[in-house]
Every structure is written in C-alpha cells, then in structure tokens.
Symmetry: C2
Subunit: 254 residues, 2 copies
C-alpha cells in the first residue's frame, strides 16, 4: 500500500475529461455504496480509501490499492464532500443486439446533454428493469463522473450503448418505437407493449427530426387538469420515469 | 438606464446566501423564459438585460432597469452560460390554510436537501396541478438560485410554504396523509384520493420518525420485475413524479 503521489491525484482529476477516459478506457467512482456496488461488476484498476474503509473490506480485488488520510482523499476527490473511498474501474464493453428491442423494453436517448439527467435515467431504468439504453453519439458520456455518481450503482446493471440512433431504429423492422409529442395520443388510453423502444429527446429541443420520422407510436403524457396553464414541459428524467412507470403498470398491474 | 456598478454585482452575488435573501425578501432569476414568466407574477426590484432583450420587451415594470453588455452580464450571472437577462424579484407571501389539503392534492417535503431536487419537484407539481407544497423548516430554501432555475417557471404558480410538518399534519384531522415505505401497499392496487397530502422524505434518510407516525396511508412504488435486484431507491424527485402521475391517472383516466 502506498499513499497518493501528486501524479496519481493529477491522473484522477484528468478523468473528468472524456478524452482521457476514452484513451484509458476507465472511469472514476466515489463513495462506499457506489464503489462497493461496482467492485462486484467491473475490474478495478486503482482504489484509494481510508484505513477504516479498508479494514472493513479486507478482500477487495484491485490492481493497486492506496491507504490514504481523509486529507489526501479530499485532494483527490471530485466531490464536494469526499467519502472514504474512490476507485478507477475499467469501462465494460457491451454488444448491442437489436433483438433486445424485440424481447424487452429498451430506452433510446437522443442527445441528452446533462450528466445528472443521464445518471438519473440510468438509475430509474435499473428500478424499472430496463437493461439496455441506446444513446445517440451526441449524448453526454455515461462515464462522466457526475453521471456515474447519479446512477447510484445502476451503471453496474444497465448497459449503455452509443450508436447512430436513426440507423439503429431502421434495423428494428416493425418493432414498436415510442416517443412523446404534443400531438401524440394520451398514454393512459393506449395499450403499451412489454417490448419495444422508448425514445426520449434532448432537454431543450426534444427528439430530432430524423429520429421523429422513425417513431411509429406517438404518445403524450397528459398534465392535470388537462389544458390548464402549466410550465410547458417536464424535465426529461421525470418524463422518462412517468412513461416507464406506465409501461410497467400496464404490464404487471392493469 | 445605468450599467452595472461593482456594488450591484456584489449585491447580486450575495443573493446566493439564504441570510441575505431573507433580510432583503428577494430572490434572483435568470434567462428570458424564466424572467419572462416571473415578471407576470412578482414585483421586480431590479432587472439587467442586453439591449437586444430590452428592445423586445419595451413594457416591463421594474423599480430599476440596467442595460448591460454581454460581458457585464457574465460578471453578474451565477450561471455557467449567462442568458440575456437576470432579475431580482420580491418574495411572495402566502397564507397556509389546512383547508387546501381537504379540497385538493398537496405535497409535503420532509427535509429535502438538494436545491435541484426541490426545483424539479416544483416544476412537476405545476405540471400535475398541485398548488401547494408544504416544506419542513429544514428543507432547502425555495429561493436558492439553483432551485428557482430548476422550477422553469413553476415557482410562479406553485405556492411553497415552510412550517413544522408534524404540527401541520396534526391540524388536518382525518385527511388522508400518504407516504412511501418499503412495507407500504402497492400504489397501483390502492384507491388514491383526489385530495389529501403526499409526504416525500429526505434524500438519504427518507421520512423522519415523527412524521412517519402521522401518516395514515402507507404506499409502495413497485419496481419491475418485482423483487428483482435493483438500486434500492429512486431519486426523490423521480419518486414524487411517479406517485403524482398515478394519483392523477386514477382521478382522470382510470
């Protein structure tokens, strides 16, 4: 065990940059709950923790382990309130098979920009038993540290893929592809299938034109009371949750 | 019209502090959409905008208006990407009447800590036609600039109150008071009323013991498939949305 060199701290901070994460094929995670979850799923390249944490976890596997003081941890951490342990994990490689959309309910994200929104969506996908999220190439990086933290461990179970969304949707044949639009049909009055793809759009601009043309089931989340003056939209993570909940309610409790 | 003095910029930045906001009874909002919404609802003490924005809005009412360069706006703004206009509004004063809970659906928040979560909850309350949110005294301040921004204008319509939650709930008599718990009843299998109070708990600790004892309808949001390994919780704003959506679905589309 070694303490943290300046170079190591520099390396950890450099993982805020997508370019470095991509070159190194790694990502950073912090905190006992999250790191504990991820250690069961991904190879760990490096782990730094307080002696208290290390004593509680004598059997961890990592290429390199450093016992650090709270002060050293604070210097390395990207969080406002550092917590006992941080670790660098290898990025997993997943294969994207269009069959997933024929056999289960999947999510597609068209240019989601906010790291927190992506992380929150991964967390709720985990809750609603959605295993695959297909992101457009311009969607924010899933290994952004803010995204990883917001998943609260969901990133260990939900597989996030990046690809051309229009090409992917075209490869699906006649699978149901859902999206929400102001002129869509009230989702409470539509039969919602247990398989298919739900597309969610960018925070400011919604679903792009090319993807919109490929959506064959247009839905609408009704506000309440309908037609009332309201803020004209829901946050994208909130909208995703409300839609996924309705799909699952219809599948299991209708 | 005057440009921005150093003192004015200092004043704007000081509104990040709850103490100053409380003394001055004001709050800060930024961006054309949000400021435009709020100008219709709250007296404006001070507004700073680019000449382009001001030319488009010749009829605004504010005690003081400053035409500023993009550069000056950037120095005053609390946002990463400043947008055309910022304004200081007077805090509204609302009266809290327990009758609201007997006549409509209301939300209660027990020590929500994250400003973004509170803002997102206000935005979705607006969407779901919830007019009153009753917060415990330790809930984050609704006039925190991050909260105000995240409401996306919902703060103009949703009335947020701070009070002792246990005392308030005791004053409600036999009104239905809902909360989510792991040992609650599946919300899809319960009749949900169109009036009453839905209590949501702190991000880390959930609903406090004193408040829990006053809840007379314990609910559970089922995950999917039920009993599957998942992250053990939803973000509080996500959970609030899923619950509110189900209350409104049952009221309007069951």
């Amino acid at each position: 065990m070694a303490s943290l060199s300046k170079n190591k701290i520099k390396y950890i901070h450099s993982l805020e940059q997508k370019k470095i994460r991509k070159e190194e094929q790694v990502f950073l995670a912090e905190g006992p709950k999250l790191v504990g979850d991820l250690l069961e799923h991904f190879p760990c390249r490096f782990l730094a923790a307080t002696s208290v944490w290390l004593q509680k976890h004598p059997d961890i596997h990592a290429n390199e382990i450093a016992e650090v003081s709270q002060d050293e941890l604070s210097r390395a951490s990207l969080l406002k309130t550092p917590q006992q342990v941080l670790a660098v994990f290898e990025q997993p490689r997943y294969t994207l098979n269009p069959e997933a959309v024929h056999q289960s309910l999947c999510l597609a994200l068209d240019d989601i920009q906010d790291p927190g929104n992506l992380g929150t969506i991964i967390r709720l996908a985990d809750w609603f038993g959605i295993e695959h999220i297909i992101c457009s190439q311009n969607t924010v990086d899933v290994y952004n540290p803010k995204t990883v933290q917001a998943t609260m461990g969901g990133i260990a179970r939900v597989k996030v893929h990046y690809t051309s969304l229009p090409d992917f949707i075209r490869s699906l044949g006649d699978a149901p592809v859902f999206g929400t639009f102001l002129d869509g049909k009230n989702m409470y009055e539509q039969p919602l299938s247990a398989t298919g793809l739900i597309v969610m759009g960018n925070e400011g601009n919604g679903i792009g034109k090319e993807v919109e043309a490929l959506i064959n089931r247009k839905l609408y989340i009704p506000n309440y009371p309908q037609g009332q003056e309201t803020s004209e939209s829901l946050n994208v993570a909130i909208a995703t949750a409300v839609i996924c909940a309705e799909f699952r309610r219809q599948a299991a409790w209708k």
